[in-house]
């Protein structure tokens, strides 16, 4: 417990200090509220807007979770298929990378034109940002199977599906999880962008409205919610990893 406390207090103090300096600087230099609101203003605004924010946040959470789950599933599926069929891997890997070179901000309006204002274009946006880190990390993990264990499985006469399910996949699990952790934070970003481009609810939509009204304080409230959401999702995945990967990875 003591060790845990030791690792927690430095960032905690840093955040407190940062907020204090921010608060002090805003009042000391008389910075206008529409330029940079003080933390106290942001907190007050969050309280008065609580109900409205709750509605928008729950919409965003819903979208994020569905998109994140779908994106992770797509990423794992792609990794599995490409790993088991090396020909497909060499053929499609460049396309995967290409898919990441298209800016999401440019793609989202296109998806809107093609698929309308429903859930589908938003979901596709999130899947597109989420699947890549999962797929790459999983494929990487799958190819790094321990040589001695692989040799044992082959000598013992294990079939391909046995090798995959009993050796390669569990061995790749830590690597898969680092991909999923990245995807978790990306998925919140993807949801915000999707809502920003075309939606009638959600934090992204709320931000777009407040930006037009120059309500900087409310924008900051929205940013806080996004940060909190990303953090929560990340922590949840980290917890899941702790539960599933109980064994200590081998030192090389």
């Amino acid at each position: 417990m003591n060790a845990y406390f030791k690792s927690v207090w430095p960032p905690f103090v840093a955040v407190i200090l940062f907020i204090a300096i921010w608060q002090g600087a805003v009042s000391l230099f008389h910075i206008e509220k529409w330029m940079l609101p003080a933390p106290s203003d942001i907190a007050r605004e969050a309280a008065t807007q609580a109900e409205r924010l709750g509605m928008h946040a729950s919409a965003t959470i819903q979208l994020t979770l569905i998109g994140f789950a779908a994106g992770t599933a797509v990423g794992l599926l792609i990794a599995m298929v490409l790993h088991l069929v090396p020909f497909l891997k060499s053929a499609l890997y460049p396309l995967l990378i290409l898919s990441q070179n298209i800016p999401t901000i440019a793609l989202a309006p296109l998806l809107l034109i093609w698929f309308g204002f429903g859930l589908l274009p938003k979901l596709i946006t999130i899947i597109l940002v989420c699947f890549f880190p999962v797929a790459v990390a999983a494929m990487d993990g799958l190819t790094r199977t321990d040589a001695a264990m692989m040799n044992y499985m082959r000598m013992a006469g294990a079939k391909r599906h046995h090798i995959f399910w009993k050796l390669e996949l569990p061995h790749a699990l830590p690597s898969v999880f680092s991909g999923i952790k990245i995807a978790a934070t990306y998925s919140v970003m993807g949801a915000i962008i999707a809502e920003w481009i075309g939606a009638d609810k959600g934090i992204g939509y709320y931000m777009m409205l407040q930006k037009s009204a120059y309500r900087t304080d409310r924008l900051f409230v929205a940013i806080m919610i996004i940060v909190a959401l990303s953090l929560l999702l990340f922590l949840f995945i980290a917890l899941l990893e702790k539960l599933l990967v109980r064994w200590r990875p081998q030192k090389r």
Binding site: A148, K166, L167, P170, H171
Partner: protein
Amino acid sequence: MNQQQDEHVQPERGARALEPKHGEKLHSANPDLPTNTTAATVPPALDVVDVHASFRERRSRLPVLNGLSLTVKQGEFVAIVGPSGCGKSTLFHIIGGLLKPQEGQVLMNGHDVTGQRGKISYMPQQPALFPWRTIEDNVLLAGEVAIDAPPRAEALAEARKWLSSVGLAGFEQAYPHMLSGGMQQRAAFLRALLSLQELMLLDEPFSALDALTRSDMQRWLLDIWEQNRRSVLFITHNIEEALLLADRVYVLSNRPATVLHEVHVPFDRPRREEITEESAFLERKRQIAQWMREEQQKARLS
């Protein structure tokens, strides 16, 4: 993989009545297999016939095995010693069916199994236990990947019985990294022992252990094997280890490897460690060491 493979498995199963009890030998469970191996009636567990293998290296071919032949009779413990890099792993990969030799055959129980996998039980140099599986689940692994996997409950009961008889009681639910090197190798050996295939290939199983643990493990293996008498092919660098454990020792040449000499080890079983001080033992040890030295000299000169 094919029908031929399936029909081979049956006779091997009969020979596998594993009972960790003293004096109950494997073959007594199967009346069809006489304990004295007369070549005419019982085909050998393993017969490697004139195997040639080479690897492509740039544009030339690098020969690795050059007409190597060896035999493991039913219930016999055979060791292979040879200079390092002589192609022992290639030989094991051929017996395991991972590689196909350019020439020659691998026969098991009289059937041609060249290039067929899943015919042997294998214990690698590193324990290669899966770190995410408990010791119990690791030991069960070989059964899980077998062609006709036994029911899990049955396999589990047998595994538990064995774990306690090899001194791993209380570690069934432990993960491999919690165990010492020697205990890990015991679990790896058990994993091989509990797999359905009658022939065991042991690939320098004790080479990564320290000297004390190693001699401890040799005594342990001797004990376990003398109770069960599986057919074993054992690779080692250690001449004394080979002579202590095996009924016969093959001495291999440099690469490309052939069988240079075959040494019969005439000591009775159950063996005790004291035989390492007998003159017949020392004489053979000296002789093999000299052959190995000559081979190494040849390698240096060429």
